[in-house]
Structure formats: C-alpha cells, structure tokens
Homo-oligomer: 387 residues x 2
C-alpha cells in the first residue's frame, strides 16, 4: 500500500471508513455501494475530471468491516492503484453486453451474506450514477440480499469535515478571495459580461484553482434578474450591479461564494440591499451555534433581512459545501438537519430589490463549538464601486 | 413564445422534437421523461452550469404529440422562460417532503393515458439524475402506466447532429486548435505539469471557450502512463512526451481532442508511435463511410496501427461527441452501432510504447455521405518538439 494517497494521508481515509462503518452498523447495512464522483473520492481519494464522460459507471463497495473494494473500468486502474485502495477489480468498459454488472454482483455477493443489506444513497440530493437497467439486473442477481437507503448513513459522516478537509476548502476560498479582489481591474463599464466571466475564470486559475467547475452571476441596472444563466454579450453599463459567483476547485474541494459590485456609482436601492445582506449575514455569524437546525439558520437570516427593511428573496439561504459545489443541508424552513461542529456551510441570503431585480450575498463558514468561523474573507460592508 | 432560444432558433428545437416524437411513435412510447443536463438542453435549449449543484432534480416531459413540459425548481423558471418552452411548472426545491414528485406525477398522468408507456433512457452510457427513492414513488404513483427503456429512441435522434450543432462543435474545435498552437509558449522544460494544465485552461478561455469542462493529459520520459489523472507538480523534463486533452465548451457543445509534444528532442520510440497513430488515423479518415459500424472503425484503426508495427493500447479508440464530452457509440470491437451521416465522432487510437508508457492521438470528425471531414485541425504528421 502506498504511504499516502494523492491528496491526503492514508490515516484520513481510514478514519472516514471507520466512521462510515460505525454508521453502517448502527443503521443495519452490510455494505455500501457508492457510484458518484464525490462518494468515490471521499472513500478512496480517486480524483479525476474523467467523470465528465458519462460513458462508464464506477463502483466502490465498502463492506461492514475491512477495506473498500473498487470495481471500475480498466482505464482507471493505474490512478486507483496510486490511491490507498488495494482491492481493485476492473473490466473493459464500455461493454454493451455486461458493463461491470457481473463483476459488481460477484463483489457484492462475495462480501455480503445472503440475508444482508446493501446500502445505497437514494434520498434527497442524491442520484445513482449507473444505468437504471443495469441497476435492476444487480438488484435481481444479488437477491435475496436487500437494497436499503443509506442516504443518512453517508450524509451524517460526510457532512462533518476533518481538519484536513477544512484546510482544503479554506485554500479554495483563498483562491477565490484573490480572484474577486482583481474583478475591478477587468469588470469595467463597456466590457461584455461574457468576457468578464472568462476574465474571472482566468483570474481563478492564475490564483491557483486546479479547475473552475462553476462560474455564474448576473448584471443589470440596480440589480440582476437571475443567477444561473450563462453570460450574455451585453456590455456592463454604469448603474449596473454585477454579481459573480464561483465554485473553484482545489484538490477536489470546492469554495462557493459570490461578490457584488456596482458599475459606477451605486444607487440607493443597491446600497441598501447590500447593507441588509451584510447585516443579516452578521446576525447569522454571531448567533450560529452547533445544535441549531438548518431551519433555525433560515429564520435568523430571514429575520435579519426583515429587520433591515429588506424583502427576502425566494429559495434557500445557504447549504452545505465540500466535495461538491453544494451539499445538504439546505437552509430552508423545511430542513431540520442539525448543524454540527465541523460542518462547512454557505450563508447565502438574497433580497428582492424590485420585481426582476435581486441581490444575493454569500460567505463560506465552518461551524466550531463556539460558533461560525469564516473561510471566505468577509465581503466589504458597503457595496464596492468600480469606476 | 420568444422568437429564438438562447442558443438556436426555435425551428431547431421543433425539428428535434419532431424527430424524437417519430421515434417514440415507432418505439411505442407515450412520453419521454428526461433528467440529465444534455437531454434537457437538447429538447429545451436550457443551458446552465447550475447542474454542478446536485441538490435539485430537473425534469422535462415530452409527450407523444405537442410541446415539451418543464417540471423544474423555481430557481430555473426565469431562464427556462427565455427558452422556447411555454409550459413551465415549478416547485420550491429542495423540498425534503415532496421534491417535485407530486408535480411530476401530475404532469405524467395528465399527459399519458392509463395504459400508456413512459420512456426513460436506462441503457448503456445513461443514468437517471434524480433520487432513486423519488423515482420509485413516481413509478408507483403513475401506475398502471409503464416505464420502458427509451435509450435507443433518444440516442438514434441525438447522435445525428444538425448543421447548427456541427457548427457549434466546429467552433469549439477551433478554440482548442488555437489553444494547442500556443502550448509551446508555456510548456517549457522545467515548467511544472500542474502549471501547464492551468496555462492551457487559460489559453482555452482566452481563445473563446465559455468554460473548460475537461482538461487531462500526462507527461513522462518517452511516453506517459495514464491519461485521466490530475496533474502533478513534477516539472517537465527534456525527453518527456507531453499530452494535453480537452473538452472545451462553446454554447453547450464540446470538442474533445488531444495533442502530443516532445519536450526537447523526441526519441525514436515516441517519433515512431506518433507516426503510427497519424497513419492509423489517416487510414480511418480515408476509409470511413456511413453504414459502417463502430466495430468496423475499431478494426480499421487497429489494423492501421498494426500495419505500422505498433502495439495498440487498451480501451476504446474513439466515441461520439456533442452535448457531453463523450457520447455513444464506443469505438470497440463490441459496439455494432451503425455510423450514420451527421454523426460527430472522435478518432482516438492509442499505442503502447513500452510497459507504462503510452501515446494517445485524437481528432474530431463529422461523417458526411462521402466520408469523414475533420472538425479539429489535423495534428502535425511528425511529433512536434518544444525547445
């Protein structure tokens, strides 16, 4: 076994596996079957952009005791072999007749007794990254072994980050901090928004991002209408509010926060919106403690906005963060997930300035025993102006 | 209805829907349920990097006749409304109690008769992008309507690209061509590979990529060992062969090809490998015709390599290309998909130079009635050297 994987010492992965296996025992699962990039990376350290190709499924089976088993396309054997995984079973994928199904079935039936349960994340914010028809074959062929829902088992472990993980996210945040600081050098009046998006991605790479999995934003007079669209070629104009939001990646870990800028002089509506967002975020930074729920945090942020006379925007006001751009929980009034020490979260309040004009503000934090600590550098308290 | 969507004229989408509905009729499907970024973009023009967040499912239902219906999180309503879709049904996602399930069930039961069939892509190279537990609820609640496999229905339509789509892929290829031409300016001996990966992504953005969904590669003395790993910090050294591979995105369409470079003077093994790969690619470019199968193309490429005295590498030797980095078919001896006029493919032969040292060569083509036409600028016939 190699001394260390590509990203973390082996001890980090042993600890993750031990925590997952404790959860599996408590929840009555004899193995976990993991199929997504984040779950596979979490257990094995296997990090590659090759997931961008939908052609091949990848499987990791974690038995109730012992080490994880990788059941993967042969093209990944070399990289997986440089992780801490020693039991690597491969097939030549894609195979239209048997694309890993029999190898996965053999692995599961070898590791799990006939009356056992195989856990798969199948709840909110999950999906199974393999063909449905092949999954049906696996279910039939491993019977009478049962498939059970392992969403909570995996989420309760993954949501509490280790010190090493928090360090990676802090580094990703620092990369974005430095790139945001450079925005005034390229987001000048007259510059088309699509070029600003490119400039921003370039700045993130220059500041150390391995790659930029997410950039979004918006720009419009006194506020923007939408935060998920690709950029148009419309030039920035004085009076616009520009927002840029990024999920830049460092060693497989994401940041996710945004910054707002006035192009030229900010109008009163934009200034007040930014001040309300800043104050609501401050309220959450001050009040947040482990043991509160995501719904509690939603209430703090909403009340903070209302106290400033602002109209809260639609949708969630934050979420988990780590191995993907967004993780559970969702900061809504319906999510009663308990916030625990070691969780990394975004605080993402939004306000409606006028119909079709909004502003969204986002910071990244880690929750310690004594409260929230910022991972992103705090946004300026007044809306910065680009002249 | 808007005059045009964000990317294509509405006529483009009408034609896609008509072709899908003809396939659905032939295959006995009363609706298609689509959940992935590529399938949703194909039918609606809805393009966003927001898919990077796994938090929310998105649904498009295409009935046997009439227009597509979007069943989506409220956060996407504005952008979907600027596409050509007029029937947009939203819910506040993520909702831990009912995350779009009842809205999707209502939509399907309203559009499909009780004895009808709902098609879902569930075969090779597909997955269902929604929680498994919610899918099980949908299946139960729409019964007695049946779920059937729509993999072929969707693939036979999507795999034949329109002139407008080919134009987008050609533009993406041109962006990468220009970025590859600049590699000798930054991939100098002594430059760490991870910095070269960043430089290359910056060059792609500067040359016009909207974003860079994929960069991979490798570098090693006389060849590289692996083509899917993240870059290490090892500096390039004279005698290395460097390969860079990219899927850069323009208006939602990908290129996917690579280029090889000798750092310093190329050794004989690397030169011969490159010459063999070039010759095998030439053989395929000359011989390929509509009506051949993916397996035929695999044979042509393999025989081309063997004729040059090279040892073919493992794995597939090309694949489809378009709305994702890789699409079906796979150029293997097991894939008997018929290659048709309008298909966009990669030719990706690889050779084993020595144990742990390989070289892979890739071009992008479109298949016309009279044969293959390059979309990427042809690689130089001799391995370029960077001094």
């Amino acid at each position: 076994m190699p001394e260390r994987s590509l990203i973390f010492p082996v001890a980090e992965f042993r600890q993750r596996v031990a925590r997952l296996q404790a959860g599996m025992q408590a929840d009555g699962q004899d193995a976990l079957l993991l199929t997504t990039p984040a779950d596979v990376f979490y257990v094995t350290g296997f990090l590659t952009r090759f997931w961008e190709s939908p052609a091949r499924p990848w499987f990791v089976v974690l038995p109730a005791t012992g080490l994880p088993v990788a059941v993967i396309p042969a093209i990944g054997a070399d990289l997986m072999g440089r992780c801490w995984v020693t039991d690597i079973r491969t097939w030549d994928a894609p195979d239209p007749v048997d694309d890993g199904v029999s190898l996965l079935v053999d692995t599961l039936t070898g590791l799990v007794g006939a009356t056992g349960a195989v856990g798969i994340p199948m709840g909110l914010e999950t999906h199974l990254r393999m063909p449905m028809a092949d999954f049906a074959k696996v279910v039939a062929q491993i019977a009478p072994r049962r498939i059970v829902d392992a969403t909570a088992t995996v989420q309760r472990v993954r949501e509490v980050k280790s010190a090493a993980e928090i360090g990676k996210i802090r580094t990703a945040c620092g990369i974005a901090d430095r790139a945001f600081a450079r925005v005034p050098t390229f987001a000048q009046p007259g510059r088309p928004l699509d070029m600003v998006f490119r400039d921003f991605q370039i700045a993130l790479l220059q500041e150390g991002a391995d790659w930029v999995s997410y950039v979004a934003g918006g720009a419009g007079p006194g506020g923007y209408g939408d935060v998920i669209s690709p950029a148009s070629a419309r030039p920035l104009a004085r009076g616009d509010v520009l927002m840029l939001d990024t999920g830049a990646v460092h060693d497989g870990y994401f940041c996710d926060f945004d910054r707002n800028y006035a192009i030229g002089t900010a109008d009163d509506g934009a200034r007040r919106a930014h001040a309300a967002l800043y104050a609501a975020t401050d309220a959450a930074l001050t009040a947040l403690r482990p043991g509160m729920t995501a719904a509690d945090l939603h209430r703090i942020l909403t009340q903070g906005l209302v106290a400033e006379g602002a109209v809260p925007g639609q949708g969630r006001l934050g979420h988990g963060l780590g191995l993907t751009l967004t993780e559970w929980p969702s900061v809504t009034d319906k999510d009663h997930t308990i916030l625990r020490e070691g969780m990394v979260l975004t605080l993402e309040p939004g306000v409606q300035i006028a119909p079709g004009r909004m502003m969204v503000h986002e910071e990244n934090i880690v929750l310690h025993a004594d409260g929230a600590a910022l991972l992103s550098a705090r946004a300026p308290c007044t809306l910065p102006e680009i002249h």
